[in-house]
Amino acid sequence: MSAPTLKIDDLKLSFKTWSGTAQVLHGISLHIKKGERVALVGESGSGKSVTARIVLGMLQQLKSARIAGSVEFEGVNLETLKPASRHALRGTRMSMIFQDPTSSLNPVYPIFAQFKEVLERAQPGITNEKAREKAISALADVAINEPDRVLDSYAFQLSGGMNQRVMIAMALANNPALLLADEPGTALDVTVQAQTLKLMSELVKKHHTSVLFISHNLGVVREFADRVYVIYKGNIVEQGPTERLFDDPKHPYTRALLSAVPRITGGGIPDLDDDPGRFTAPLVAHEGYSERELLA
């Protein structure tokens, strides 16, 4: 059996501040197999986004960050790589999609200039014509009808949904093994978000891309992910297959999280569990879905 695309083992993160050390991740373990779409769900500040940034190696350069534990990518422990070879993975073997597509694109260059920079990561010295050809076909994959017009536009001239498609096209242009999607499209309208996520879903299925889907939007997670990890205050509190986790949440925090979603049928905003002490209860894995069993 081949090594999982991503395997995080007992990852700890703390920030050194003037007033002491702030522990952000208390030792989380998760993995994603090839072509698997895994969601990491939790509230703001639970440690979702930092996890993605550690995988890319972007937090390591912060002097105040203390990181322990291991991150393996396609069987290679990333900490053992030289900085240059680790850097070489970014944008080529792993890529990322951000929350707000419009502000994640450079405002002073047209889309094509950035698209070419992304393509250059995999093919240094690619010609303009070749890059344009590739960009056009990548945009066609995300159902953009006028690729030439989009490539010559600036991000601020395009709609949020259009920019989101451009981001998805960029993220998948180099055919990465792992896509980190950090709350993609949270800044967009729900309908636009649904459309673009559907596109993304089809594309990653087609290319067998592994996805770490970071979100607090449970509706989206349910549609999109094969498996779910629920994270609370830097700990994974529950993990399991999407359907079973949603139908039968076992951990008190997961139950609170699911009941916190306002229903479209009305009934007001639900009351939250008033005993957050129970949220820190230990990890509950659904049967057959603990790290040990899955990686066996």
Binding site: R90, G91, S95, F98, Q99, S103, P107, V108, E117, Q157
Partner: protein, 326 residues
């Protein structure tokens, strides 16, 4: 244009409320009362303020700024003689400001929080915290007196005689094909230009640094890092370019402000420029010359601002595209 009319009216009024009789000063203490009255008549000084302004504008439209009472030559001719020296000084300073200020700011922002950043910030703070004439004196003392590397004053050594074509010695020496004279002029201009540029360099560096540091927190920088673009490229295309837009306007203003600071630097280095001329004519209450000088300097100021606005609209796609659309 409207600004220029306002400036001319204002300076015209100010020049006329300064105490002292220009005719009396021009003719000297030994002139007869009749001569003074005659000159006052000739200069329309006995007419109402508005009538005087009317005469002035009528002359100005014919390209005539009147006679200078100090040099006894047309003010236009005086300005044409002194302006190139000032422009040469200010332009060289402006180039120094951009050529040194921007790279320092970029360097500082790329190493934000590190020792390079701290050093640059300290040095540039020194640069902005003293006015140009203080630097002029300090630099002159250090580099022309204690360590005699640079000449102490003037535009060129007396041993060279260069035919005036443009009035810009840096260009005239090249036209004459005299490279030793060119080198000599460069040698002369370095200290005064640097003294004049120092606060601008400091301001440009600090401005670019703070704008870039702010830009470094934008999501598109994180995206560029997540895709592993080279650090240098991120600094140039993702951090510097977007922050150049707000910086450029201020740098343009600084550049125009150098025209003002040039007054004192020219005085220190005995630089035969318009500013020295301006000071001399103000002390002589030479009305026509004062108004002419101020008008020319304001016109320069406006031209620089216009150029900067054009540059900003070229490098800012938002402005460029909205103009095309309308």
């Amino acid at each position: 244009m409207i600004v220029l009319i306002g400036v001319s009216l204002l300076i015209f009024a100010i020049a006329r409320v300064i105490p002292g009789d220009p005719a009396r000063i021009a003719l000297g203490p030994n002139a007869t009362a009749e001569a003074v009255v005659a000159l006052r008549d000739k200069l329309h000084l006995n007419d109402s303020f508005l009538a005087q302004y009317g005469y002035f504008i009528a002359d100005l439209l014919r390209g005539d700024l009147g006679l200078s009472l100090y040099t006894n030559r047309p003010v236009m001719a005086d300005i044409a003689q002194f302006l190139p020296a000032t422009l040469e000084l200010v332009i060289v300073s402006g180039i120094m400001m951009v050529a040194m200020g921007l790279p320092l700011g970029i360097l500082s922002a790329r190493h934000r929080g590190g020792w390079i950043d701290h050093t640059v910030r300290l040095v540039t703070l020194l640069g902005v915290s003293a006015p140009a004439f203080v630097w002029a004196v300090v630099l002159m003392l250090v580099f022309s007196y204690f360590i005699r590397i640079f000449p102490i004053a003037g535009r060129i050594s007396d041993s060279f005689s260069i035919q005036t074509v443009t009035g810009f010695l840096l260009i005239d020496t090249l036209i004459a094909g005299d490279f030793r004279a060119f080198g000599n002029t460069v040698w002369h201009i370095i200290l005064p230009a640097f003294a004049l540029a120092l606060s601008g360099i400091g301001q440009a560096a600090r401005l670019v640094r703070s704008n870039m540091v702010e830009t470094y927190d934008k999501p598109f920088i994180e995206m560029a890092q997540a895709y592993g673009f080279p650090e240098k490229r991120i600094a140039r295309r993702y951090a510097f370019r977007p922050s150049l837009i707000p910086s450029l306007t201020i740098i343009g203003l600084d550049f125009a402000a150098m025209l003002g600071s040039a007054f004192l630097v020219e005085a220190v280095y005995a630089w035969p420029g318009l500013s020295r001329y301006g000071v001399a004519v103000i002390l002589r209450k030479d009305l026509n010359a004062i108004v002419g000088t101020v008008l020319v300097i304001s016109a320069m100021f406006l031209i620089v601002n216009l150029i900067v606005d054009l540059l900003v609209s070229i490098i800012n796609p938002r402005i460029r595209l909205s103009q095309r659309a309308s």
